[in-house]
C-alpha cells in the first residue's frame, strides 16, 4: 500500500513538474529586464490589448450562445442529443489550422456568409471579427460542456419546488438554476478565454494581421500569440521568450482576478446578498 502511494506521488509530482518547468524556464530566460523590455514594445502591448478585448467579446458571445445549449443538453432527453454532443466536441477534436481553413472557405468574399459579413461591416478575413470568430469557434465548446455539467448536477426537485412556490419557468431559471450553475459557467468562460488567448493555428489562416482601425497605436496588429510566433520567426528566441513571459503574467493576473472577484461577489439576485 505504502509503495503504491509512493509511486503515485512520484508520478503526480513528475506531471506537475512537466507543467511548471516550461513556464519557469520562460521566466528564468526572459528575466525581469526582458519582461520590462517587452512592456516597452508598443506593438506588443497593443497586440495584448487587442487580444484581451477580442477574447472578452468572444467570451461574452460564447456565454450567450453556449449556456442555453448546455442547459438544454443537461435538462432534456431527446432524440439526436448524442449527435449534438458530438458536434459540440468537434472544435476540440480537429486541428486548429484546419479550423482556420474551414472558416476561410465559409467566409471567403463571394460566399453567402462572406458577403453577409461584409455587408454588416464585419468582413472576417484579416479583420478583428475574424479573431473573435476563431476564438468563438475553438472555445465555446468549453462553455457548453461546463454549463451542461453544472446544470446536470442541479436537483430537478429544486426547480420544481421553485415553480410550485410561485416562480415562472424564467424566474426559476434565473433564481435557482443559474445561481447553482454559476461557478461551472464561470469555469467554462475562463477555459474559453484561456483557449482563445492561446490560439494560433486558426489566426494564422484567417486573421494573422488585422486592421483594428484608428486608436490602436498602429495600422496593423496581431493576436498576441501570432505576434510572439512572428517574433520567434524574425527575431529569434530572446524576444519571443520575453513577450511570452509577459503574456503569461497578464493571463495569470486576469485568471486570478476573475476567480477572486467571483468568489467575493454576491450570488445572483437580491436574495443572494446578505441574509
Amino acid at each position: 500500500m505504502r509503495l503504491g502511494y509512493g509511486l503515485g506521488g512520484v508520478l503526480s509530482a513528475s506531471l506537475l513538474l512537466l507543467f511548471v518547468l516550461p513556464i519557469a524556464a520562460l521566466f528564468w530566460t526572459a528575466g525581469s529586464a526582458g519582461i520590462f523590455a517587452a512592456l516597452a514594445n508598443q506593438g506588443f502591448v497593443v497586440s495584448i490589448e487587442f487580444t484581451l478585448l477580442a477574447s472578452a467579446i468572444a467570451v461574452a458571445i460564447g456565454l450567450l450562445l453556449g449556456v442555453p445549449l448546455g442547459y438544454f443538453l443537461a435538462r432534456f432527453e431527446f432524440r439526436g442529443r448524442s449527435l449534438i454532443e458530438s458536434i459540440v466536441l468537434l472544435p476540440v477534436m480537429i486541428p486548429h489550422l484546419v479550423v482556420g481553413l474551414g472558416l476561410l472557405l465559409v467566409f471567403l468574399p463571394g460566399t453567402p456568409l462572406g458577403e453577409a459579413a461584409s455587408a454588416v461591416g464585419l468582413p472576417v478575413f484579416d479583420h478583428p471579427a475574424g479573431v473573435v470568430l476563431v476564438m468563438l469557434y475553438v472555445g465555446t465548446s468549453y462553455v457548453v460542456l461546463a454549463s451542461q455539467n453544472a446544470f446536470r448536477s442541479l436537483d430537478r426537485g429544486a426547480v420544481e419546488a421553485a415553480r410550485s412556490l410561485g416562480a415562472t419557468p424564467a424566474e426559476a431559471f434565473w433564481s435557482v438554476s443559474l445561481p447553482h450553475a454559476a461557478s461551472g459557467v464561470l469555469t467554462g468562460g475562463l477555459l474559453m478565454w484561456a483557449r482563445g488567448v492561446s490560439e494560433v493555428g486558426g489566426f494564422l489562416i484567417l486573421a494573422a494581421a488585422v486592421y483594428p482601425g484608428p486608436g490602436w497605436g498602429g495600422p496593423v496588429t496581431s493576436p498576441a500569440s501570432v505576434y510572439i510566433y512572428n517574433l520567434y520567426g524574425t527575431g529569434g528566441l530572446a524576444g519571443a521568450t520575453a513577450a511570452s513571459a509577459l503574456l503569461v503574467l497578464v493571463a495569470l493576473a486576469i485568471f486570478l482576478a476573475v476567480r477572486a472577484l467571483a468568489g467575493a461577489a454576491p450570488r445572483f439576485g437580491p436574495l443572494g446578498g446578505g441574509g
Binding site: 426537485g157 421553485a162 410550485s164 435557482v176
Partner: protein, 337 residues
C-alpha cells in the same frame, strides 16, 4: 366527500413507458391521504402530475370544485415538496424559507419570514446553508418554506424520511397542528408505516401503476391481498412462494405452499395458536426481540420463522425452548403477486 379539497378522478399518466392509472384520490380540507406502494408503483408520478409537472393523458384533477389540469404549477398554489426536499443549496435557510415571498416581489420578505423561522425552530440556523444542517433541520426548512407560500394543498414526497423516531414524532405533531389550524389538505407519499399512520386518515395503495384501493389505515389489516400491502400494514408472518418452496422439508412449508397465491401466503396473528407450555404440535424458540416493553418471539420451523407475541418480559422463554405451535389453516390467506 364535500366539494372542497383535492379530487383526482380516473387520472392516467404515461411517461417513459410507464403507465399510471386510472387512479382516483380525494383529500378533504384539514386531512391527509397517504400514497403507499412499492418502488416503481407510480406514487411520485401521481404527486408530480397533481403538482402540474407531468402532462396527463386522461382524467381530471380539481381543487375546491375547479378543474386545474391546464393551470401551470406556479399558479396552482400547491406546496410541492419533492423527493430530496428540493432545497436551494446556494441560499441560506432564511432565503429558502423566504423564497415564495421574495419571488412575488414582497419587499418585506425578510420580516415576514421570521415567524416561520421561529415556528419551526430555525431562527438559530437562519444564516446557514442547507448542506450544513441535520436531516431533521432540512425537513423543517422544507416544511416552513412550503407553508410560507400560503398553499391551498400540500404535496409531500417522503415528508419524514430519513429521520429518527423522536424527530418523526415531533415533526408529525407540528405538521398535524398546521394541517388542522390552516384546514390544509395533505397528499403524501411514504414508505414508512409510522409516518403513514401518524399523519394520514386514508391510505391509497398503488402497485405497478394501478390503485389497489383506498381505505382508512385500520381496515387495511383485513383488506391486504398482496405481499407488499400485507407487510406494510404490519402483518408479521408473510411468506413468498420462493421461501415456502425452500422450506419443503419443514412441517408447515408444504402445507402453506398449497394455500399460497402468486404472491405467497399470509398467516395472520389470529391464525396462530400457540402457548409457552410444551405440547404437541411443538416448535422451537429461535430468538426474542424487544417490542416496546414486551418481547416478540421468533419461532423456527425448519427454514421458516414465525413471529408471535408479544409477551411480558417475565414470560419470555429462553432461546431453544420448546413451545406448542399450531396454525389454523382456514384463516391463512393466499396473496396476489
Amino acid at each position: 366527500m364535500t366539494g372542497g379539497g383535492l379530487r383526482v378522478d380516473e387520472l392516467e399518466v404515461v411517461r417513459d413507458g410507464f403507465r399510471l392509472g386510472p387512479v382516483s384520490v380525494a383529500v378533504e380540507p384539514g386531512t391527509a391521504t397517504a400514497l403507499i406502494g412499492p418502488s416503481g408503483a407510480g406514487k411520485t408520478t401521481l404527486l408530480r402530475a397533481v403538482a402540474g409537472f407531468l402532462p396527463i393523458r386522461r382524467g381530471t384533477i380539481s381543487f375546491d370544485g375547479h378543474r386545474i389540469e391546464s393551470t401551470p404549477p406556479e399558479r396552482r398554489q400547491f406546496g410541492w415538496v419533492p423527493p430530496g426536499l428540493g432545497l436551494f443549496e446556494r441560499r441560506s435557510v432564511r432565503q429558502n424559507v423566504g423564497y415564495p415571498l421574495w419571488i412575488r416581489g414582497d419587499d418585506d420578505w425578510r420580516v415576514r419570514t421570521e415567524p416561520w423561522l421561529e415556528r419551526f425552530g430555525l431562527a438559530a440556523v437562519a444564516d446557514r446553508r442547507p448542506y450544513r444542517l441535520s436531516s431533521g433541520e432540512r425537513q423543517r426548512v422544507a416544511m416552513a418554506r412550503a407553508l410560507a407560500a400560503g398553499p391551498k394543498l400540500l404535496l409531500w414526497d417522503e415528508p419524514l424520511g430519513a429521520l429518527d423516531v423522536e424527530s418523526v414524532a415531533a415533526l408529525s405533531a407540528v405538521l398535524r397542528e398546521v394541517l388542522e389550524q390552516e384546514r390544509l389538505p395533505l397528499l403524501l407519499v411514504t414508505h414508512d408505516p409510522r409516518t403513514a399512520a401518524s399523519l394520514a386518515r386514508e391510505w391509497v395503495i398503488l402497485d405497478r401503476g394501478l390503485c389497489r384501493g383506498s381505505a382508512p389505515p385500520g381496515s387495511w389489516i383485513d383488506r391486504a391481498r398482496d405481499r407488499f400491502t400485507a407487510r406494510f400494514v404490519g402483518h408479521r408472518n408473510v411468506f413468498g412462494r420462493e421461501e415456502l418452496e425452500a422450506a419443503r422439508d419443514s412441517r408447515w412449508g408444504p402445507v402453506l405452499l398449497e394455500r399460497a397465491g402468486d404472491g405467497g401466503v399470509l398467516v395472520p396473528s389470529h391464525a396462530i395458536d400457540w402457548s409457552l407450555t410444551a405440547g404437541s404440535p411443538h416448535a422451537t424458540v429461535a430468538a426474542i426481540r424487544p417490542q416496546g416493553d414486551q418481547w416478540d418471539i421468533e419461532i423456527r420451523d425448519g427454514r421458516l420463522s414465525f413471529t408471535v407475541g408479544p409477551v411480558a418480559g417475565s414470560d419470555a422463554p429462553p432461546i431453544g425452548a420448546s413451545v406448542r405451535f399450531d396454525i389454523r389453516l382456514d384463516r391463512v390467506r393466499g396473496l396476489e403477486a
